[in-house]
């Protein structure tokens, strides 16, 4: 029994050490995998929330500068559209639950923005006048 207990302890310690050894390099890999898997969806939500906030700002300015029934309804639609930002927040917190930290999320946001930026670079490269 004592012998068995000693062997159990040793095997538990060994498993713990092995777990640490695996987990230490595995954690970044895990985060990379999560990021790669969710980049498209998260990127779309980043865009949608940004768009919703911009539209809401514009609608609020319009309703303030030129109040009318139409402007009021447009503002109401823009407010409903802000639910996209709630979707974005929930999704982001959900990704954090799965191990992503702010630096990884920042990188995903940058990649979402740069996905558009790379299009722009292509356009500039194609159309810029070269002297």
């Amino acid at each position: 029994m004592r012998f068995g207990s000693w062997r159990n302890k040793a095997s538990h310690l060994g498993a713990f050490a092995l777990g640490l050894a695996v987990a230490w390099p595995a954690m970044p890999l895990w985060r990379e995998a999560i990021m790669a898997w969710h980049q498209d969806r998260y990127g779309a939500l980043v865009y949608q929330c940004d768009f919703a906030m911009r539209e809401h700002f514009t609608a609020r300015q319009e309703a303030s500068a030129r109040p009318s029934l139409q402007a009021g309804l447009a503002l109401h639609s823009a407010e409903i559209a802000l639910l996209d930002c709630q979707d974005y927040d929930i999704y982001q917190k959900w990704l954090m639950q799965w191990g992503l930290r702010e630096p990884e999320l920042q990188r995903m946001r940058l990649e979402a923005i740069e996905a558009k930026a790379s299009d722009l670079f292509e356009v500039v490269e194609t159309h810029e006048i070269r002297y």
Partner: protein, 420 residues
Amino acid sequence: MKSATEPLRSALLFLALFGLSACDSSEGGAPAAADALSSDTLRHQVLRSAALRYGLVRPSELEIAGQPTRQAVGEKLFASELLSLNGEISCQSCHLDRFGSADGLPNGIGVGGVGEGHERLRSGGLIVPRNVLPLWGRGSRGFDTLFWDGKVQLTETGIVSQFGDRPPSSDPLTLAAHLPFVELREMILDTDEIRQTLATEEVDAAERVFEELARRVRNDVELGPAVAGAFRIRVSEIHFRHVAVAIAEFIRHRFRVQPTKLHRFVFDDGPIRQAELRGGIIFYGKGRCSSCHAGPYFTDFDFHAVPFPQAGFGKNGFGVDQGRYNVTFAPEDRYRFRTPPLYNVTRTAPYSHSGSVADLRRAIVYHFDPLRYMDPSQMTGPERLEEYRRLGVSAVEPLPASLSDQEVDDVIAFLGMLEF
């Protein structure tokens, strides 16, 4: 054996965890959700509130009570070819249950048409250059602007129509029920004789047609006594206005708005699926559909431009249809059409004033991304010119956000809630 299975079990656990992370978990923020019933109380509340704010009411509030005897005789008149002056066509030829009270074709097929659907298209009948409108809600409370270009409209100063200051009725639907019977190609065969005697665009010419049709009804052994009985008059006293009133009463009753899944959700706490809910939030939110599709009939009864392509010859000829401009001659009304109501919209394809859009998905996409389906290289110069003009007018409309295909599907799911 035990030691060999442990790593396998661990690997499976890892994969299961990763799989969980890859699946979407919540209705709102998380990725794709199965189309199960929704329990998102926040969005439920937002959708209910928006629907009410934009004018949804119980269908019973829209109903105008009619007389069953007139509705019954109206149904017979609706189906009678006796009311076509020189053709063999009835109202029912183009307003069929099978196609959601329209005809399922891009342009209407008037006199000479035989059969239904594509059979009718191939039958060689005369083309009426507009998409046949479904009849849902017509003549109910507040539904006072009729036809694509609003050529019959009840305004604060009275009824506006091509009858000028001699409207045959003060009720828009009854007045509208007069028009197909005197419309060349629609229910009158366009012949030299007709051109010389009746095609004068004068109210008196229309009156002559109405009198002839009323005479036929008086002489008909079934319709004459039925109309007289419904109006409690003698057969000899039947005028065409009795015919029009009966047809209008039938349309008002038969095609009245009835409770939909959306009504049950908003007023009776009925169930809603996740896709329908997402679509509803888009409809009233970033899609800005409710900017125009508002009110109890999902139309503002105003005139707007969407750059749908033109199918067929067009009301103005050679592929041109200037829409509301044909009624008002106001330059700002060019290419504008009345916002179509949305009840049963999933059943009334094809879409647009000329029926040029085959399915609802494309009809929605044309509102925010018309270039997606256009190929200018396949168009003639005049066609492109027309397209530029339509695009110019539509660009000042309240444009929605660019919706993904998934979001468009969600909006279609929401529109499915308007079926009855």
